[in-house]
């Protein structure tokens, strides 16, 4: 029984990582319709910055998180202005390829920076802290990630449904020209949405730098998983992201515990689920 509860707890905490990595991309892809394959690389840059701030300036990730998110947000706005803006009206595949190009650039800037240092890890004092409640171990840093992810999802949900900027974003997604007509500056909305989207990726990167490690190549995997969760949840469905992350998190944690050599399978099973969902119900499995 204890093992089972531990599996559930680990799965739920794991889902926090998924939520926090997916949220930003969900805003870009699901809400305003920008396909960003470089999402994970912005996350990776966030993790790198967090590690640099910690090792070079001795600033704790929990403090540098605001600076890093803001820096990445500005980087995102810059990227939008220089490049993405120009392909919004052309074929979807152009957005995919352009952001793919950006992801390769960011990845290799990181390679050029980190050079031979293969894996970068930081050890803030609370990294390995954990509570033990009746034999169930609960990691402090993972709980922190989970809570922050949850707060962000709720905030974003609120903003999209209740503020003018949020409503404009949804309007732009539904009909860009209609939005023009009612006086929404679509270009500005795209800029804000994309900036916030990658800013959130940067924030996720900082949080992940606390619980995991960073290499220049971690990004693409996060992009894939984030896309996968978005598809499972259905486009623009933020609540679906909560559920999808929970399901995948628990499956992954159960595999690791109950199946011998199970962690090796988790990636394959992850994508198998996604493939099946794409084939059976491409609009996502959760009601909006």
């Amino acid at each position: 029984m204890n093992t089972f509860i531990q599996v559930l707890v680990n799965g739920i905490l794991q889902s926090g990582t998924y939520m926090i990595t997916t949220l930003g991309l969900a805003l870009a892809v699901g809400v305003v319709g920008i396909l960003n394959l470089a999402h994970g690389e912005f996350l990776m840059v966030g993790a790198f910055l967090s590690i640099i701030f910690y090792t070079v300036f001795g600033i704790d990730p929990l403090i540098s998180i605001l600076i890093v998110s803001l820096l990445i947000l500005l980087l995102g706005i810059g990227t939008y202005k220089i490049s993405l803006k120009k392909v919004l009206d052309s074929a979807e595949v152009n957005q995919l390829l352009l952001t793919f190009g950006i992801s390769i650039i960011l990845q290799n800037i990181a390679v050029l920076y980190s050079g031979s240092k293969e894996v970068m890890v930081i050890n803030p004092p609370y990294r390995d802290l954990s509570w033990n409640i009746e034999g169930i171990g609960i990691s402090f840093s993972k709980t922190l990630v989970f809570i922050i992810a949850l707060i962000l999802v709720i905030t974003l949900f609120y903003i999209l449904n209740n503020t003018k900027v949020g409503k404009s974003m949804r309007a732009v997604e539904q009909n860009r020209y209609g939005a023009y007509i009612v006086g929404i500056n679509a270009d500005r909305i795209f800029k804000i949405a994309f900036g916030v989207s990658v800013g959130l990726a940067g924030l996720a990167g900082v949080m992940l730098s606390i619980i995991l490690y960073a290499t220049p190549f971690i990004g693409f995997n996060y992009t894939l998983k984030a896309f996968a969760i978005i598809m499972m949840a259905g486009m623009g469905n933020l609540r679906g992201i909560l559920w999808s992350s929970l399901i995948l998190g628990i499956i992954e944690s159960a595999l690791g515990t109950y199946v011998p050599g199970g962690t090796g399978w988790s990636e394959g099973i992850f994508f198998f689920i996604i493939l099946i969902i794409l084939l059976v119900k491409p609009e996502g499995i959760f009601k909006k």
Binding site: G101, I105, Q107, I274, P282
Partner: protein, 303 residues
């Protein structure tokens, strides 16, 4: 007419290249590089042929790896001759591609891209996990073809190259050019005009997959050793795609020009800069998408 002469001249030069290389210093190296270039040219062409139907696939690494592994397992574990292993690899890939194509080709844009990516990654997980058959991430070592004679290997790939150009040109000059363009620009209209869009896309997907898989089997028998992370490497797909975009999409000559230029740049940079040289690929993709929608070929055609 001028174009025709130019293209025959191009093929002729590629054909006699090893003879030129024979009299040059560092022959082995040049030959190896030109083999690489030809292999990437073929992969780029296979991707381009499929994208003409409007489907941007990320299944190249999947089929490349599938071909490489099937070939390796059949020669190494079951002791089949090389030629039979290659045929079996092609058969298996075509069946897999046919199934996958029927399932995924009705998906569009990003959905299709993610589905094919998922396919490549699922295959890689299977190969890593099924250690009894595949030796997992340790990889398999096999025999090399033609006892490693680079000239023979070059000509085998050259023949494949010519055949693939033939297929690509056939598509460009036959009714398929019209139907693919129709499917790409507006699938509904294409259907109304009486094109069996699903069948055409599936057939193209199978052909494209078999080409990628064939190159995978070549890789097995050239290197004599394969491991999952190198043959299922997503950057194989990315490079093929970058070559197409850079050279000029929806054409035969574009991917060839792109592959030759990028692979040469690649070769120079990876020896001079080393780590991180891929940044140039990123820049090339971004610049091409933003400023050269028709690739380098577009500049040439304008004049």
């Amino acid at each position: 007419m001028k174009k025709k002469i130019l293209s025959y001249l191009g093929i002729f030069i590629v054909a006699i290249f090893p003879l030129i290389a024979y009299f040059m210093p560092g022959t082995k190296y040049f030959l190896q590089v030109s083999i690489d270039i030809l292999m990437y040219t073929i992969l780029a062409l296979s991707w381009d042929m499929l994208v003409r139907t409007g489907q941007a696939s990320f299944a190249i690494p999947g089929f490349y790896g599938l071909g490489a592994y099937v070939a390796a397992i059949f020669t190494k574990t079951l002791g089949f001759p090389i030629i039979f292993s290659i045929i079996i690899a092609l058969l298996i890939s075509s069946i897999v591609a046919w199934l996958l194509g029927y399932l995924t080709l009705r998906l569009k844009g990003m959905y299709f891209a993610i589905a094919t990516l998922a396919f490549s990654l699922i295959l890689m997980t299977l190969v890593i996990q099924l250690k009894d058959i595949t030796h997992g991430s340790e990889g398999i070592s096999t025999i090399t073809m033609f006892a490693g004679n680079k000239y023979m290997i070059y000509y085998l790939i050259f023949i494949t190259f010519v055949i693939v150009i033939g297929i690509s040109e056939y598509i460009q000059r036959s009714k398929y050019w019209y139907s693919f363009t129709a499917i790409r620009t507006n699938e509904q209209v294409a259907k109304v005009m009486g094109i069996n869009t699903v069948r055409q896309k599936v057939v193209m997907f199978v052909i494209s997959a078999m080409i990628a898989s064939l190159i995978g089997t070549y890789e097995t028998f050239i290197a004599g050793f394969i491991e999952p992370h190198s043959v299922f490497n997503l950057s194989i797909g990315v490079m093929a795609l970058a070559m197409v975009i850079f050279g000029g999409i929806y054409s035969t000559i574009g991917p060839i020009v792109g592959a030759v230029i990028l692979k040469i740049i690649d070769e120079i940079l990876s020896t001079t800069i080393g780590l991180g040289y891929m940044i140039v690929y990123g820049l090339i993709i971004v610049i091409t998408i933003l400023y050269l929608p028709k690739g380098v070929l577009g500049i040439w055609q304008k004049k």
